[in-house]
Symmetry: C2
Subunit: 437 residues, 2 copies
């Protein structure tokens, strides 16, 4: 993509409610535009990042055998009356009457709908276990939407659901998701810590929030610092190893303020290991057994030919929220720096341009064509601006690698740098290797 | 994917309102499940097909320089009051009040919102032309949703918008999209005919519907049969060639019943060339100049430093509807046959299984692993059923290629067939070549 053609409305005008860095930077870099309170349009640069995050989440869900489907955004109230949540859910649920006067709602979550799909599809224990997920827009009518895409009303979320015959098997599914989540966040360049959590309106008795550290986080967290040293790569996708992973995490104190009790913290964690800081919730998983399957009559026939209610869990990742969360975790001063896995472009070519000399632009186009052929997603900054303006802009956009075509370049070697690092003079082949590894 | 693991609730029970073939087949093959009137969940098989269609549409939009963004589903009523459409739109618009009592709506289309994004982003004629698109869920509260995904309430649509300085340039944008649409439908295995159309609630004075022939279509069409012989490959993406394409199409009569007048039809088309049949609308494009930009004050500064209102067009493709439309165009008896470009799997392996002999299954797993390594998306039918049950099921699912592992196979050669064609005995390398070309 040539930058002069990219729909990228970079701006300096920030609304007064843009209080945290990710919100400010996303607006400034033209990644999003507010459409109404807590509702955003995703402009090309923002959408590219969100789509990359979505794809990482999808791949990691597929790897553990979860299958993708897609439930609609608008649901009938009937199922929610069946589960008993319609009246309980409160004002965060966007309630709608259609032209026939039927009570509908914009799904804030999908336990009811997936249970309905499951009960009408699966009749025998032989088809278990199952894990199903979708990545879909949700709506929660927050009283005070804020922090840009971090706490908005219309948001993009992956929610998965597991279906098992009994608690023992259900815990295996829970552990698989727990494992998958840690892998997912790692690929996104984040260290997420699973923390014992309350279950809130989803219900159930086992739950973990996945929290990344960030000064601007809304969650206060209390943890044993050793929990940050557990490496998910030391476990594999096998029942006993997953069990050990859970035991290892559970043995170290880590809770959010909801579950915090100073007495326990001091008892379980030596003073020198106590970490008290803030974080952002990027995922939340729940085990709630038959909380939904029972009222919705979701049964299978078991080995003995008897009705067996289904044990379910649900597993959420905030895909749109992650765009903001990654910025919060990674930014330095005014510089966004995307992890390679989600960067909107792999590399940006920045030529020094002047009206009387098109040599640098010509060179840059050649580099562009070469890298494109290698399947590398390149941005070429062909806008007529000074180099200092360009550098400032690219700090903001945050593409992690730059090829600078100016006085330090020859016909075959070019200045290559990773943002915030020293540059080196490399051939195109060497640049390709750097970008591909 | 192993079929025994696939979440594929094949069913024989059809609701009485499933009157057309695509609706019946999609329900029977477990591609969709109705969630409420005119609202569907997309199960794994259906979602795979829809995602492939979405990707073809996206690639063809990108090829002509349109840029993807994503607008939210829920919009404020304010913009629609500004454009004057809020009261006009009628009951098909799903109107919503949020918890603060603000008037919102579920977007049935996005002219207002994209105009708002554009007016706040682009200030100079130098940034024109622009084409922006998104692929997003829409809602139209049909009084009588029917025909499954063909006329449902919540539907998935690609809508693009063009922005130009004057009518002449705007027509070039219109022609580019016209070209892109014909290319898109061709890749989807469809012959779509552009027909002069009314503009309806979108407005404007130039409009084409893209219609594919199908007996079950809701649109009556009247055309000169020569229009079916125009080949889009004879044109290229260059101003004059695009103009010629438009002229060539315009010179041949082709209208839907809205615009049909018998007198003109008889005058312009010799009797022997008259085609009267039915079709399905799969795309609709509009040119409406400043219908939205004017009331919404969407201007740029032109060469003379004066305010210049923007000339806009909009361009829709029904992505979810296309799943049904492709079935309607392609099915034979009870057999779905997906075009290669959108088939849920590239090939299915069908071993003859018996409890005492696992040889065919073992062979099949080897083939499966070989093809997977070649990046071919394979389904392996490991379900314990008779071959006749299997064949019936795979006719229904519609994967276009089959590898049959039974009495006609040796250790290194296997029965390979395209659905509805004769089979041949091929080595794995030969099969790979057939699938890859």
């Amino acid at each position: 993509m040539f930058l002069s053609k990219l729909f990228l409305p970079i701006t300096k005008n920030l609304p007064s409610d843009a209080k945290i860095k990710s919100h400010q930077l996303m607006l400034r870099a033209g990644m999003i535009k507010q459409s109404s309170a807590g509702i955003y349009s995703w402009l090309p640069l923002g959408l590219k990042v969100m789509k990359k995050i979505e794809q990482v989440v999808r791949e990691e869900q597929n790897k553990i055998g979860a299958q993708e489907l897609l439930m609609p955004t608008i649901q009938s109230a009937d199922l929610w009356k069946e589960s008993g949540r319609y009246n309980d859910y409160g004002e965060e649920m966007l309630r709608i009457k259609d032209r026939q006067g039927r009570e509908m709602l914009y799904g804030p979550t999908n336990e009811e709908l997936i249970t309905d799909i499951f009960r009408s599809s699966i009749k025998s224990y032989k088809a278990l276990p199952q894990m199903l997920y979708h990545i879909q827009w949700k709506f929660r009518d927050e009283i005070r939407p804020r922090f840009g895409v971090m706490r908005c009303r219309e948001f993009f979320m992956k929610d998965a659901y597991s279906f098992d015959l009994n608690d023992t098997n259900a815990e295996i599914s829970y552990n698989k998701m727990f494992f998958s989540y840690l892998k997912t966040f790692k690929r996104l360049g984040l260290q997420a810590i699973p923390m014992s959590a309350d279950t809130g309106p989803i219900g159930g008795d086992l739950s973990h929030e996945f929290i990344i550290l960030a000064e601007t986080g809304e969650s206060k967290i209390y943890a044993d610092k050793n929990i940050f040293n557990i490496n998910i790569e030391n476990y594999d996708f096998e029942k006993e190893s997953l069990k050990k992973m859970r035991t290892d995490y559970s043995s170290l104190y880590a809770v959010t303020d909801e579950k915090f009790e100073k007495k326990n913290f001091d008892k379980e964690v030596p003073k020198k290991n106590q970490v008290m800081t803030k974080g952002i919730e990027v995922g939340h998983i729940f085990y709630f057994g038959d909380k939904y399957s029972d009222p919705l009559n979701c049964f299978v026939d078991n080995q003995d030919g008897k009705k067996n209610s289904i044990k379910m869990g649900s597993y959420g990742i905030g895909v749109s929220r992650l765009v903001g969360a990654i910025i919060e975790a990674k930014y330095e001063n005014e510089i966004m720096k995307w992890p390679k896995s989600v960067s909107p472009y792999d590399v940006v070519i920045i030529p020094s341009l002047s009206k009387n000399n098109i040599e640098n632009l010509t060179k840059s186009i050649k580099i562009y064509q070469y890298l494109k052929k290698q399947n590398i997603d390149v941005l070429l900054d062909d806008v007529d601006e000074s180099m200092s303006q360009k550098f400032k802009k690219h700090d903001l956009i945050g593409v992690p690698y730059q090829i600078i075509v100016g006085s330090n370049s020859t016909d075959t070697k070019f200045e290559f740098k990773e943002v915030n690092s020293a540059s080196s003079i490399l051939s195109l082949d060497e640049i390709k290797l750097k970008l591909k590894n």
